[in-house]
Symmetry: C2
Subunit: 198 residues, 2 copies
DNA sequence: GTCTATAGCAAGATAGAC
DNA sequence: GTCTATCTTGCTATAGAC
């Protein structure tokens, strides 16, 4: 076997272990909160001992940061991918909202972990979260701009209202009732009626 | 002095100390999260030693529960009071939303502390928070029913959308820009245009 | 009611064997 | 890369003086 092949296999295995840790950490952070989640429990969920985590991440705070980065990356990718098909501006907005809600409500645990740490207070992590979130929400600003809405419509408030309604659904959504897709469509429909009437 | 008078004074003083502790705890819970906030810091903020808290509250969990009860009581009272004036259903909804957002965004820290503990996971506190919140949001269900909206409008989703947009504003609101009153009016206006057009 | 002192425990992180 | 063992620190809660 060539050295290149072996190196690729090692890299894949390493990635798996790291990803396993990320998922375990995300689950614990989500269900117990960052401070209450212990490195021992996270390690156990990933099938290793507490000390072994520190080979992959230098500290608990770095583990949280990695979860945030990965979560934002995944939902951003999903939303951007949903925009490759539709051309009509309203359909594009709807597609983005469906992707956003599907990933948030029934998607990966890493994405859901983003919701646990509310950007309150003034911790160092807050700055990071806020910046990442602003970048992501820029996607929606551009989608709203493309709608060519009548003057006087406040795109800023509009984005906050739409994304706020969607993000808050994380607190009340339970599987089995309405699907994320139906919720997203309903929210966009309400907005659409509203803004086309004005 | 009669015994009754002295007893009233004692009760008032006790209430002050207890309330001081509630505010201090709410501030720490809000800015650091429940698990990360220490009884030592809470006590110091209230001007006492850690051990002294346990004269007023039997445990840290009970302190959190007391903060939640008090916060829900305050915002419920404020919203119900805002409904005493207006008679028109839409004006009543707007008044309630203004009261909700003013208390949430610039009101008491005890109310704001309600936002920190997201109802994720399955902790015992989650059940309590969810029940208290459901009771409170019942006020808005009744306000929406009074609007006599056309059939086919889903009051359930409507309440979730409106309250979601408002509650999420807690994550982005910064004093100095738009006032809570203006934000509330904008959200209600959007809904109103939407629903009257359908 | 509040204090001091401390028991009892669990956490994050490190060191070195393998 | 992962393990075991452990250091150090900080926490909640209690006991008893005042």
């Amino acid at each position: 076997m060539a050295a290149g092949k072996k190196s690729a296999a090692v890299r894949r295995r390493r990635g798996n272990r790291r990803e396993l840790l990320l998922e375990a950490a995300a689950r614990r952070f989500l269900y117990e909160g960052y401070a209450a989640a212990s490195m021992r429990d996270i390690a156990a969920d990933a099938g290793m001992q507490a000390g072994s985590i520190y080979y992959h991440f230098p500290s608990k705070a770095d583990l949280l940061a990695a979860v945030h980065d990965e979560g934002m990356r995944r939902i951003s990718d999903a939303v951007l991918e949903s925009l490759e098909g539709p051309k009509d501006p309203w359909q594009r907005l709807e597609a983005a909202c469906i992707a956003h809600l599907e990933f948030l409500l029934e998607g990966n645990i890493v994405v859901q972990a983003l919701m646990q740490e509310m950007p309150t207070g003034s911790s160092p992590i807050r700055t990071r979260v806020t910046r990442l979130r602003d970048d992501y929400e820029g996607i929606f600003i551009r989608l709203l701009e493309d709608l060519k809405l009548p003057r006087g419509v406040d795109l800023h408030s509009l984005r906050l209202m739409l994304l706020g309604a969607m993000n808050w659904s994380f607190t009340w959504y339970r599987p089995g009732a309405e699907t994320p897709r139906r919720i997203a469509r309903k929210f966009v429909k309400y907005l659409r009626i509203s803004l086309q009437a004005s």
